[in-house]
């Protein structure tokens, strides 16, 4: 047996040193990233006496859902004790129309920019892209004046308008790049057949661009749900989104801090984007990477 020469490449063992190092590093990194999620969940399932024992690594000895119920239903924000419930519905009322309106506007706009260029359209688009880098704080006060003039300051419509405005650069870029990658022959053929702007859009472009609509919707739902600044400035106290309510509950100065309720409230607020993220997987990655790809 010993005189038989081995031929072909040496089969690579799974347990080489470099493999072990690679997986060790990745596992340690994964633990760092998962640690806060673990702490959030375990703390939210403990009773306050157990939380005060001061062991954030320990799983709950006695699982209780009372903090979750309190966070949703009766936690106090300083003024009211209605929990996160109203904030959740406000966030829904803000996110749904903002997402629909901003995605539709960006889709039509991207289509116009690719297939129906007019004089100056590229200049406007360039300024739009650069505009996305302007800190929001710069435009905040004039927008307060404008929305007040339009009688939408401190209303749901006001905050929807603001989200529509600031979602436009990234979404337009997304749609413009996607439409530009489609074969132009389809568009030309439809033009020859006499189809107009809206007909080509609804009958050819939209059915072909469902993937990019999914990416855009994911981007907007997570982005708008996570917004804090626009909610606190433009929505008005009765329409505060979930993030603002959450911050008011946790950082309210009155009363004894209930860390288990705070963590339950934090998970509840993070739940919507997290669910969207875990379900959408690579679509989410595509959405965030699209912002970094050159236009």
């Amino acid at each position: 047996m010993s005189n038989i020469e081995a031929s072909g490449p040496k089969p690579r063992s799974f347990f080489t040193t470099s493999r072990i190092v690679t997986y060790s590093v990745l596992l340690i990194a994964a633990m760092y990233y998962l640690f806060p999620l673990y702490v959030m969940i375990t703390t939210s399932l403990k009773g306050m006496p157990e939380v005060r024992l001061g062991n954030i690594f320990a799983p709950p000895m006695e699982v209780t859902f009372a903090p979750w119920v309190k966070a949703w239903d009766s936690a106090c924000t300083g003024l009211y004790c209605e929990g996160l419930k109203p904030g959740f519905w406000n966030s829904v009322k803000i996110t749904v129309p903002s997402t629909i309106i901003s995605v539709l506007i960006a889709a039509v706009n991207g289509y116009a920019l690719v297939n129906w260029r007019f004089k100056g359209s590229e200049i406007f688009f360039t300024v739009l892209l650069f505009g996305s880098f302007i800190p929001y704080q710069v435009m905040l006060y004039p927008l307060v004046i404008i929305t007040a003039q339009l009688k939408v300051f401190g209303t749901l419509q006001g905050v929807v308008l603001i989200h529509t405005i600031f979602g436009m650069p990234i979404l337009t870029l997304l749609f413009r790049n996607y439409f530009a990658s489609l074969p132009q022959e389809l568009f030309k053929a439809a033009r020859v057949d006499g189809a107009g702007f809206w007909r080509i859009f609804f009958e050819i472009m939209v059915p072909m661009s469902l993937p990019i609509f999914v990416v855009a919707i994911i981007l907007q739902v997570t982005g708008i749900w996570n917004d804090f600044l626009f909610g606190v400035v433009f929505a008005g106290t009765t329409n505060y989104p979930m993030t603002v309510q959450l911050n008011n509950i946790v950082n309210s100065v009155q009363g004894v801090q209930e860390y288990n309720v705070n963590m339950a409230a934090t998970i509840l607020t993070g739940a919507v984007p997290l669910i969207v993220y875990f379900i959408s997987g690579k679509w989410f990655v595509r959405g965030i990477a699209a912002g970094a790809v050159k236009g």
């Binding site: 493999r19 990194a29 116009a112 006060y141 004046i145 436009m168 963590m263 934090t266 990655v285 050159k294």
Partner: protein, 313 residues
């Protein structure tokens, strides 16, 4: 449907020449311009108009309402002699430099490890990236709890018997800014990893073969061959991360509220407080104009790279 539209356009085409011409021109331009109206309005009114408004009124002595009385650079002089503003600038620079270095290095290392044809790649990516789907408010509150001196990590480790262990960064004036860095890194490194991994995957496989033939070690290839080739992706990432850092606001509000004292105050929070809290609009507008200038400076290297090749070709 196609027949219908064909007959309709045929009907228009059958009309008189000038009318057809007018119809085609008007309708075509009208639809595209109608579709682009929100963009045009956003650009003109918000990005150009509001920015110009802010810059103009930063030269006035506006208190709780905008006033037209010009006072030159008074607001800016006052701004840079304000203790809180200067602390905010130093804080954001400390945060920015530390955060930028760590995000890029950690993000790149993770991307390299992810690029080793590993198993469970998508599971690892999901884990590294999920914090990016969460808001800064959620991020700040979780880390505020972990760093809670009474019941958090410090107490836990002390209860294990390491009684001299301290991790009280949220109460420590010198360290609180690094507490924000840790939370910010947790939220954002996954995103940088994804961008840089995309950059790594975009490198031609031939480069790797050539490096292997020449006997260049793997880490040398990454550092001296692959990294310079990723210049475009890296600059784009830097610009995105950098302009995000200038805006830093939510995380501070949730995690430290600028404290203890003013040791974690940041410019964006200064702007907000002076505009909506202190009734000193001119100060808020001047501070936000400085933020704008900072972003503009960050954008310059990106613009140079983005627009240089076009001039040559």
């Amino acid at each position: 449907m196609a027949d219908l539209s064909h007959s309709r356009s045929a009907a228009i085409a059958a009309g008189s020449g000038p009318r057809r011409l007018f119809h085609n021109l008007f309708v075509r331009n009208f639809s595209a311009k109608l579709a682009a109206t929100p963009m045009i309005m956003t650009v003109l009114i918000v990005f150009v108009g509001c920015t110009a408004w802010t810059i103009f009124y930063s030269f006035t002595n506006s208190r709780s309402l905008p006033s037209g009385e010009l006072v030159g650079f008074d607001q800016y002089t006052r701004l840079f002699s304000n203790r809180r503003w200067n602390a905010s600038v130093i804080n954001i620079m400390t945060y920015g430099v530390t955060s930028l270095c760590f995000t890029m290095v950690v993000g790149f290392l993770l991307a390299v490890f992810m690029d080793q044809k590993i198993r469970f790649e998508s599971a690892f990516r999901t884990i590294f990236l999920y914090p990016f789907a969460l808001s800064f408010i959620v991020t700040g509150l979780v880390w505020q709890w972990i760093m809670n001196p009474a019941f958090g990590l410090q107490e836990t480790v002390q209860n294990w018997g390491f009684t001299s262990f301290t991790f009280d960064w949220l109460k420590n004036r010198n360290m609180v800014i690094y507490a924000l860095v840790i939370a910010g890194l947790w939220q954002g490194t996954g995103f940088v990893m994804v961008l840089l991994l995309a950059g790594l995957r975009g490198i031609d496989e031939e480069i790797w073969k050539a490096a292997r033939v020449d006997g260049i070690s793997t880490w040398r290839t990454y550092l001296f061959i692959v990294l310079p080739m990723m210049r475009g992706v890296i600059v784009t990432t830097l610009v995105i991360v950098g302009s995000g850092i200038v805006r830093l606001y939510d995380l501070v509000v949730a995690m430290t509220q600028g404290g203890p004292g003013i040791s974690s105050e940041v410019p964006a929070k200064y702007v907000y407080n002076y505009m909506f809290g202190a009734g000193n609009l001119g100060q808020g507008l001047a501070a936000s104009s400085v933020m704008l200038l900072t972003v503009f400076i960050i954008l310059i290297p990106w613009m140079l790279i983005e627009f240089r090749p076009k001039h040559h070709s």
